[in-house]
Symmetry: C2
């Protein structure tokens, strides 16, 4: 249950550390959030928290930006990638299976 993948998605890294890890300025990191490219969580008092997955995505974004790709183009690429990715399809199918399974459950949600 507590597998390695869970570490990758836990939002526990603060923006200063993410800045060091990615080489991006905090300003850039916040801007990419504004452009819907990343979605950090917030701590109780409002500090952004990122996962290793977010850090990797930011590095990808940084690479694209170096090539001159605009943030809205990067956003489209990320959306497209999601659909094309064969793993995503499996997950979507799995989602449908789960949906059906849940629907036929003898224990309705309400």
């Amino acid at each position: 249950m507590e597998n390695e993948a869970s570490y990758k998605n836990r939002k526990v890294i603060s923006i200063g550390t993410v800045s060091e890890l990615t080489g991006l300025s905090e300003r850039q990191i916040r801007y990419y959030e504004e452009r819907k490219l990343i979605f950090p969580e917030r701590s109780d008092r409002g500090n952004r928290k990122y996962s290793f997955m977010d850090v990797e995505r930011l590095i990808e974004i940084a690479n694209k930006r170096e090539e001159g790709v605009r943030t809205d183009e990067i956003l489209q690429e990320l959306k497209k990638k999601k659909k094309e990715d064969p793993v995503t399809r499996n997950k979507m199918i799995q989602g449908q299976i789960n949906a059906r399974f849940n629907r036929s459950s003898p224990y309705p949600k309400k």
Copy 2:
């Protein structure tokens, strides 16, 4: 190269977050470091940084403490465990890999 295990050992979590994750006070976390039970890294400005592995160890420590085990006893148990655990050898090798990985970071400590 960028395997899941590396996430578990990267020291990127600040003490406030570790406190939330473990339920321990910052005072306690710093004290366990003083007693050589954990070894966080330091950021440029001297802020402690912990890994998920550290968080798990702290939870273990907290459980022992609840049972009334003293910190020096916990220290002995950890040492003993290290020798007995066949996985430890592999982790030590992983540690060397991480050390190399960190050394090649674009952001050296100094």
